[in-house]
């Protein structure tokens, strides 16, 4: 790549998602000292409207989180597309079916590289996905929880868990940037309500908007957990067994008022995968603001293919491949480079950059930590029917959660968890094909029983259902069932484990000929014990709420299955991915055991930053977006104070 043909700028960013957008915009907040930024975005650019996204979503058969966005998830026959033919591919939830099950379509075999973008080596599936378009993982829910202070010092606080490390920063170091991130994203929350487990705010701090009103489902859960006995909650091993467990609204980047020229939430119940009225923040908003300054340029469909290191150890350029038109290659030269490609593509790019053999383990990787410590929040979901109608499918997908149990002495022994109270009934967990209400409706129209709401009294286990209805009987029956659907999920903390990692496939490539990411993944016993505690809480909650449980028995061949012995019985669990991909380029003070420092600057290359949730050394239980946003703003400020000091 001839140097003279490179695009030149002050800062080159790989990835136009949350992290990339926030940094590009933050660097140009002061119009008096512009910083020229070029963003290489692997996928398509920001469209003039969301007509295409919405049309794709509305007509998608399987409405997985990726369904509105490009590249398409399935072909015109609804089959998963072979990732080796896709230029800027990404994993999809359709690729997480059991091995070798011909009946599983459209869900493909998770180990089959012909339909899974990630080459999954196991032993367990990595169950989370991300998007690769301008705006990044815009399919996020919108939750903007801060970490609790204890989350930043897991090694210090819980020394008996060997995998844990401390973050090189504390909650207090991030407090101001949390506030700035909340302003940028537009977070709606109640200050009093969010002051728990040590979360505190600067004096006179105000959230940008008041909290989103709670749903009826939230109120029911709250009532159920209002008065408990110590015996009932002793298993949690909190400081003191709680006699009530708070249900708190979730702070969210979801407008409760007009905010920055966007509408307030209208309860379309579609946050994942896309808000039809953009009441939920997504990074295209910040990208547009950044480009509007005149100093930020997005090169869409430009896939970064190599980070070039010069003799002096500084990054000299990033090479890219342009697709979506005549194929071309090129490069960008900058003073500072930022890799913001989310926690799988970022290590992939770093590892792929071999510099003709000079960096055989990839760039920024003398610690050997690049790609390691891959974490998610394995998601334990349980569901059932309430005794009286609870009116799901209304309001945002999730408005409240159980956060008070996410820290305590128990963390020395088992993973913490947070509860996510679903407002969307059994929509995504009902099983069968197409989610609810499709599955339940088909059951009662066609006399099937995929939802298990239409069982025959005949115990011979027929897949056929008892009722096949028409008319008013059908409407009344569906009303009676759907209005009582309830589900709750638990995000469980995952330990950073060295062998949970992203590497490069030696065999499988994408449509541009680049090595696809290979994933090794498992759940530690510590994490699985967190599921056990969540299971006990579920039992308590369902008892207090009079929920008739319908959580499916886990099939023997379910790839995410694991069993635990609880009170003398084997209990089978299944986990989902929460979409919270973290850890693969962890931050730390020691260059021997971390990839970046507390400002997300690479230890190895002084003009390279790695940003986003890949830098999280531990995962805690809170959704990562707000914390990664705060870190990005901290990084941008650091860049202005050091690399671009006047």
């Amino acid at each position: 790549m001839a140097a003279e043909s490179c695009i030149e700028c002050d800062v080159a960013i790989v990835g136009a998602g949350f992290a990339g957008a926030l940094i590009a915009n933050e660097l140009n907040k002061d119009r008096g000292r512009p910083i020229e930024v070029v963003i290489l975005e692997a996928g398509e650019g920001v469209p003039p409207n969301i007509n295409d996204y919405m049309e794709r979503f509305y007509t998608a058969k399987i409405k997985v989180p990726e369904s509105p966005y490009t590249p398409p998830v399935v072909d015109k026959d609804d089959k998963p597309i072979n990732p080796s033919t896709v230029n800027a591919g990404r994993p999809t939830s359709i690729s997480l079916g059991p091995k070798g099950d011909p009946k599983a379509p459209p869900f493909g075999d998770w180990t089959d590289p012909k339909q899974s973008y990630l080459i999954q080596k196991g032993p367990r599936p990595f169950a989370s996905t991300y998007d690769r378009v301008a705006g990044g993982t815009s399919h996020w829910l919108g939750t903007c929880l801060r970490f609790v202070p204890a989350d930043f010092k897991m090694k210090t606080n819980y020394p008996s868990v060997p995998q844990f490390v401390d973050w090189p920063i504390s909650y207090d170091d991030l407090n101001e940037c949390y506030g700035k991130a909340e302003e940028e994203l537009g977070v709606s929350a109640d200050l009093q309500e969010q002051s728990f487990l040590g979360i505190h705010f600067p004096d006179n701090y105000k959230y940008p908007m008041p909290r989103i009103p709670r749903s009826l489902v939230d109120v029911e859960v709250d009532k159920a957990l209002k008065s408990l006995s110590e015996d009932q909650t002793r298993f949690l091993e909190m400081e003191k067994p709680p006699t009530s467990i708070a249900v708190r609204s979730l702070p969210a980047a979801r407008n409760s008022q007009p905010y920055k020229n966007r509408r307030a939430c209208a309860g379309n119940t579609n946050c994942i995968p896309i808000c039809p009225i953009q009441a939920k923040y997504d990074p295209t908003i910040t990208l547009n603001d950044a480009v509007e300054t005149g100093h930020v340029k997005i090169l869409d469909r430009h896939v970064a293919s190599e980070i070039v290191v010069s003799e002096n150890g500084r990054i000299s350029q990033i090479n890219f491949i342009r697709h979506g038109g005549p194929r071309a290659t090129g490069c960008v030269k900058a003073k500072i480079y930022v890799i913001a490609a989310h926690a799988i593509e970022t290590p992939r790019l770093l590892l792929m950059s071999k510099n003709g053999g000079r960096t055989p383990n990839g760039v920024a990787n003398t610690s050997d930590m690049v790609g390691r410590n891959l974490m998610d929040h394995p998601y334990y979901v349980v569901w059932g029917l309430t005794r009286t109608p609870i009116y799901p499918y209304r309001g945002p997908l999730i408005t409240s959660g159980i956060g008070d149990l996410c820290d305590g002495p128990f963390r020395n022994k088992r993973a913490a968890f947070r509860g996510d109270i679903g407002n969307e009934g059994w929509n995504f967990i009902v099983g069968g094909v197409g989610g609810d209400p499709n599955v339940t409706t088909l059951d009662f129209v066609n006399g099937l029983n995929n939802s298990r709401l239409n069982p025959r009294t005949d115990p011979r286990g027929s897949p056929l259902g008892k009722d096949a209805l028409f008319g008013k009987a059908l409407a009344d029956k569906l009303n009676e069932k759907l209005t009582r659907q309830f589900r709750i999920g638990f995000l469980v903390e995952q330990t950073p484990d060295l062998d949970n990692r992203v590497t490069l496939s030696r065999e499988f490539k994408d449509g541009l000929g680049l090595d696809r990411p290979e994933i090794s993944y498992n759940l530690s016993d510590y994490t699985r014990q967190g599921f056990v505690a969540a299971y006990r809480l579920k039992n308590l909650l369902f008892e207090k709420m009079y929920v008739d449980e319908f959580t499916e028995k886990v099939a023997p061949d379910e790839p995410t299955r694991f069993d635990e012995l609880i009170d003398g019985k084997i209990v089978s669990f299944k986990y989902y991915g929460a979409g919270h991909i973290m850890g693969t380029c962890r931050m730390g003070d020691d260059p021997k055991t971390s990839v970046v420092d507390k400002f997300q600057r690479s230890h190895d290359h002084k003009n390279l930053y790695v940003v986003g949730s890949s830098t999280f050394p531990t995962g805690a239980t809170a959704n990562p977006t707000l914390t990664l946003a705060a870190l990005c703003l901290l990084t941008a400020k650091h860049m202005l104070d050091t690399d671009f000091r006047k």
Binding site: P48, N49, Q257, R263, P276, I277
Partner: protein
């Protein structure tokens, strides 16, 4: 002339019902409307009245104008319509019916659509009639000040939503736009202060650059009924919206209604949104309604100084939303200049469009794309876009044949004035009648002017047609994708204010019963979110 006389007789007979109504209709040509008690209401509609004592009755066999005929509109009808507009102004309330001259060849929906479209034309012509209240619109000059441009009748949004959230009176004189103090002549100039919404379409969807490289400009105005409600409830500031008193307010703007049984008519809430094209040359002026404008540009970066430019503006787009007692979700109509953009079927037509350049080569610019950023006008360039980009816009949803026929007739009626260069796109109206409507308890149930604002499951009440977009005002949201594509009511139904829930916070009583719902709906207008001043959070 016969038909005019009949109309006059009808009107006079009605006025026996109320002396006030007599004064308001016969001969009193005061400014429009002087006060609700004297409000004139245009009672014409698309079908002739059957019952002389009830001008809102309709004879389906007798259209006021035969839109299917190729013959020109006869002079008597033309005079009747135009004189009526001059003398009685806008309709205060629509009169539509599910029947018409084509009978069962059309559905009730289509008949009503025709009725609404006729009402929209009357409204458009009445609002754009000369502000002196005497000159007929077909006798106006291109730059004759229109009724809506007279500050006695309508105020611009920024003159109501004042800096620091200050209150104001209807009769307050308009302040010169900042930086234009020496230039601004209040009696003859339109004064515009550029803010983001002046050049960037709603939700920041894009700027629009005409073929001469000028920004299109957008503005919003309200009538006195809207203004009075806003002042009364202190909705002109964020802090005002967030008061304890307003935590219990359900915003419900006044609704227009015709005079009836001794009660005077009133126009109800009317909001206008306009789009302007900057006219660089005299030659262009002849085809547009024009206004002399004094425009305060955005401040230069790092400064508070604002440059001032004087421009001649040509009207290219005109939205009206009008709330009536029978259409509490408002009636939404939109007009455009005929030269704005081609429909797909017209893209090869050799014509100088405002926002499209005919291209017959193979390398044509992409259509309906936003300009390259930055969109913010550079103050030094005087509202010329910085760059060679020109918006290349096509209307993706063509006008229906019915609308085109009606347009031809109304354009004929105003031939000789610039108003023949304007056309109706459509009228969007709530087709589910009893939706969200409160009625009196005693039979026969009569609609109350209050809206059932907490209506579920559908507050929009089945808008017809489902989608509507003006190529200059919703340029980049055209289409037919639910929620994503432009629909007046679907979008405006989402409008909220800064009102807060009552301090007692929770939605439920101690015994678990739900309290009254917290309310921050703004009755279909986004104006309230433009209130300035500090928010308490």
């Amino acid at each position: 002339m016969r038909s005019t006389a009949r109309y006059w007789r009808t009107t006079v007979m009605r006025d026996h019902l109320s002396a006030a109504a007599v004064l308001s209709v016969v001969g009193v040509l005061s400014s429009f409307p002087a006060s609700p008690a004297q409000a004139r209401c245009n009672l014409m509609h698309d079908l002739r009245s059957t019952n002389l004592s009830d001008p809102t009755s309709a004879d389906p066999a007798k259209p006021t104008i035969d839109f299917n005929s190729n013959k020109p509109v006869d002079a008597a009808t033309k005079d009747e319509i135009l004189n009526n507009i001059t003398e009685t102004g806008i309709p205060c309330q629509e009169t539509v019916t599910g029947d018409g001259p084509e009978g069962a060849k059309k559905t009730q929906l289509q008949h009503r659509q025709r009725g609404f479209d006729f009402y929209s034309w009357l409204t458009f012509l009445a609002l754009n009639s000369p502000a002196d209240g005497r000159t007929r619109i077909d006798k106006s000059m291109p730059n004759t000040k229109a009724i809506w441009e007279d500050r006695k009748n309508f105020k611009q949004l920024l003159d109501v939503m004042l800096p620091d959230g200050a209150a104001s009176n209807w009769t307050d004189p308009k302040k010169a736009p900042p930086g234009c103090e020496s230039e601004f002549k209040p009696d003859t100039d339109m004064g515009i202060e550029i803010i983001e919404e002046s050049y960037n379409q709603p939700f920041k969807t894009g700027a629009l650059i005409d073929q001469q490289g000028n920004y299109a400009l957008f503005d919003i105005l309200m009538n006195k009924d809207m203004f009075d409600y806003i002042q009364e409830h202190k909705l002109y500031s964020r802090a005002g919206q967030q008061s304890a008193v307003n935590s219990k307010l359900k915003v419900d703007f006044p609704a227009g209604k015709n005079a009836a049984s001794g009660q005077a008519g009133q126009p109800g809430g009317i909001i206008i949104k306009v789009s302007w094209k900057i006219l660089d040359s005299e030659a262009e002026n002849r085809k547009f309604h024009t206004v002399d404008a004094v425009i305060s540009m955005l401040p230069d970066h790092g400064s508070t100084q604002r440059r001032c430019v004087r421009k001649t503006l040509g009207l290219v787009g005109f939205h009206v939303m009008h709330k009536t007692v029978t259409r509490l979700q408002w009636i939404w109509t939109s007009f455009e200049h005929v030269d704005n953009v081609p429909e797909q079927s017209e893209i090869r037509k050799q014509k100088a469009w405002n926002f499209y350049k005919v291209c017959n080569t193979r390398a044509c610019p992409p259509v309906n794309e936003t300009p390259p950023r930055p969109w913010e006008p550079k103050p030094a360039l005087g509202l010329k876009f910085d760059g060679t980009f020109r918006s290349q816009i096509v209307r993706t949803t063509p006008l229906t044949e019915e609308t085109k026929k009606m347009n031809r007739k109304f354009q004929e009626i105003v031939r000789g004035s610039v108003w023949e260069n304007y056309m109706l796109l459509s009228t969007q109206w709530p087709s589910d009648f009893r939706c969200a409507q409160k009625t009196t308890h005693e039979p026969p149930a009569q609609p109350l002017p209050d809206t059932d604002l907490e209506k579920e499951p559908d507050i929009n009440c089945a808008p017809a047609p489902t989608f509507l977009a003006n190529s200059t005002l919703e340029t980049y949201s055209q289409g037919k994708v639910p929620l994503a594509s432009s629909s007046c009511m679907a979008c405006h139904g989402n409008a909220t204010s800064y009102q807060l829930s009552p301090r007692e916070a929770d939605q439920f009583e101690p015994d678990g019963k739900p309290k009254a719902k917290f309310f921050n709906q703004t009755d279909f207008t986004f104006m309230l979110e433009k209130a300035r001043g500090e928010t308490q959070k």
